[in-house]
């Protein structure tokens, strides 16, 4: 088996998620990541503000 047919064999043997499932899961992951990023940013800003009050 050469490289390309091997890759094709590997790709065909995979069970892939449906488009709908992929969209739902990736949207959930994207939203959770964005919310966490905003939360951490807010947290950092809060700490910077609190530290600036005391220093």
């Amino acid at each position: 088996m050469n490289l390309f047919s091997g890759l094709k064999f590997g790709y065909n043997s995979l069970s892939k998620p449906s488009f709908k499932k992929l969209m739902v899961v990736s949207f959930s992951v994207f939203i959770v990541s964005c919310l966490t990023a905003v939360f951490v940013l807010g947290l950092d800003s809060l700490f910077v503000f609190l530290i600036s009050l005391f220093v």
Partner: protein, 471 residues
């Protein structure tokens, strides 16, 4: 269960139900009332750990010239990657600047050593006791690596002129503070993994990456919209959001793709006297090694650059490792660095896959337990079949990893923007962590529903849940 114990449980459960009915926990529906207590407590404690970690990141290491360090990190793209992964702790030179990296290095090293040292390989087969021994070994190795890294960082800072005070007392204090900070982060990540929600190491890494996410998107937007009109700015916002979503979707797709090899076990007689055929599945993931090959490859690439920065000596051949100079039309030969990077990723992916998925061992285990892969003879033919499957899937997965890790470099080159550290490798870490957390949550809810469906008036489930909660 005797004495006031069941009554206490009932009171706890009712109190918790009331809280949840008020709608304070948005993650659970009305069927997950008793589950909410455990999950909410674990989730809130995990958030508390994150808050403590972010607070510690704000405290700078004593005797360090912060402004000079930040200017140094802004100009070096390789150091920027390390900085993104450690959540900005390196550029801010906080007391937890070492972060979780020594522990990750130690765990990778222990896994690698299991091939060379038979005792560690034996621990892997010993079950729970072996796991505990491996964990202890990883902790010790993490401390050793942490001490070495702390000494290296502090002396490197001194030789690069980043320290305000360079006497022995200042050096000693900085080393001790870095080691204690690292130990605290390792303790916290272990606590999250053992008692709370998700994998501690992944969560700390993810939080570190996401802390740079908003500022990264903002700087990309600013770079792309210099002197642009309002309509262009709106278009760029949507383009960035769409691009990120596509990247997240592709990474999620990589994590969801799996090859399920069906195994049939020989018949056995059940309690009722009927003949039963057992089935199971051997999953081979497209990116079974996760992000580790990319981290390995990046560390190999970062090392010469780090050495140059810290020692101040320039070697001409080190230019090839500078990611900001890849894919340039004028210096096309420097793109060989990208090829080397991809080869390292593929090589490490194969190495790690061989470590974690031993085809011969799996084939032997199947044969011993009377299991047969459909259409393949047991023993050596099964091992060859599994090896063929793993070989091509790993190659495909590692090529996908190469594509994702090269995206930030290509984007920064094509659009002539600064380092886009929040794309690529960082997305792989974030997606895998979030997917793990979602899977863990889903599995816990399923177990909880099953326990409640088997109980009578909920008392049995309350007892089981109380055991899980440690009441």
């Amino acid at each position: 269960m005797s004495g006031p114990f069941p009554i206490l449980l009932l009171v706890f459960s009712v109190l918790d139900c009331n809280v949840l009915i008020d709608g304070s926990c948005i993650f659970l529906n009305s069927r997950d009332l008793t589950y909410g207590f455990s999950f909410r407590k674990k989730f809130l404690l995990t958030v508390l750990c994150i808050i403590v970690y972010r607070f510690l990141l704000m405290i700078p290491l004593p005797f360090v010239d912060l402004e000079y360090v930040q200017s140094l990190f802004g100009s070096n793209s390789s150091l920027m990657f390390l900085n993104v992964v450690t959540g900005g702790s390196l550029s801010s030179v906080s007391i937890v600047a070492l972060g979780i990296t020594p522990y990750i290095s130690a765990s990778i090293l222990v896994q690698m050593l299991s091939v060379v040292i038979p005792v560690i390989a034996k621990y892997h087969k010993m079950g729970y006791t072996g796991e505990k021994k491996i964990k202890r070994l990883t902790d010790v190795l993490a401390i050793v690596l942490g001490v070495i890294e702390a000494i290296g960082i502090v002396f490197g800072f001194r030789s690069a002129g980043l320290l305000i005070d360079t006497n022995w007392y200042a050096l000693f204090v900085d080393i001790i503070v870095l080691i204690v900070g690292m130990l605290f982060v390792v303790f916290m990540s272990n606590y999250i993994s053992d008692h709370l929600f998700g994998n501690g190491v992944s969560i700390i890494l993810t939080v570190g990456i996401l802390s740079n996410f908003v500022s990264g998107v903002r700087s990309l937007f600013m770079d792309l919209t210099v002197n642009a009109s309002l309509s262009t700015k709106i278009f760029v916002i949507f383009a960035i959001a769409f691009g990120l979503f596509v990247l997240f979707s592709f990474t999620t797709w990589l994590h969801l793709c799996v090859n399920r090899i069906h195994v049939v076990y020989s018949s056995r007689v059940s309690m009722s006297g009927q003949s039963v055929n057992d089935h199971s599945v051997i999953p081979i993931r497209l990116v079974g090694s996760g992000v580790l090959p990319v981290i390995f490859a990046t560390w190999v690439l970062t090392f010469p650059s780090l050495l140059t920065t810290l020692t101040g000596k320039e070697f001409p051949w080190m230019v090839i490792f500078d990611t900001s100079r890849w894919f340039s039309a004028n210096e096309w030969w420097l793109s060989f660095g990208a090829i080397l990077y991809c080869l390292l990723i593929i090589g490490f992916a194969y190495y790690y896959q061989n470590l974690t998925f031993n085809c011969t061992e799996i084939a032997d285990t199947l044969k011993r337990n009377g299991g047969v892969v459909s259409g393949v003879r047991p023993g050596l033919p099964t091992a060859v079949f599994l090896h063929d499957q793993v070989k091509y899937i790993t190659l495909l997965g590692s090529i996908c990893l190469c594509i994702i890790s090269l995206i930030p470099i290509v984007v920064s080159r094509v659009f002539s923007v600064g380092h886009v550290g929040f794309m690529g490798t960082s997305v792989i870490i974030v997606v895998s962590t979030v997917l793990d957390c979602l899977t863990e949550y889903k599995a816990s809810v399923k177990v909880d529903r099953y326990v409640r469906s088997k109980s009578f008036f909920g008392m049995e489930s309350l007892f089981l849940l109380s055991k899980n909660n440690g009441i």
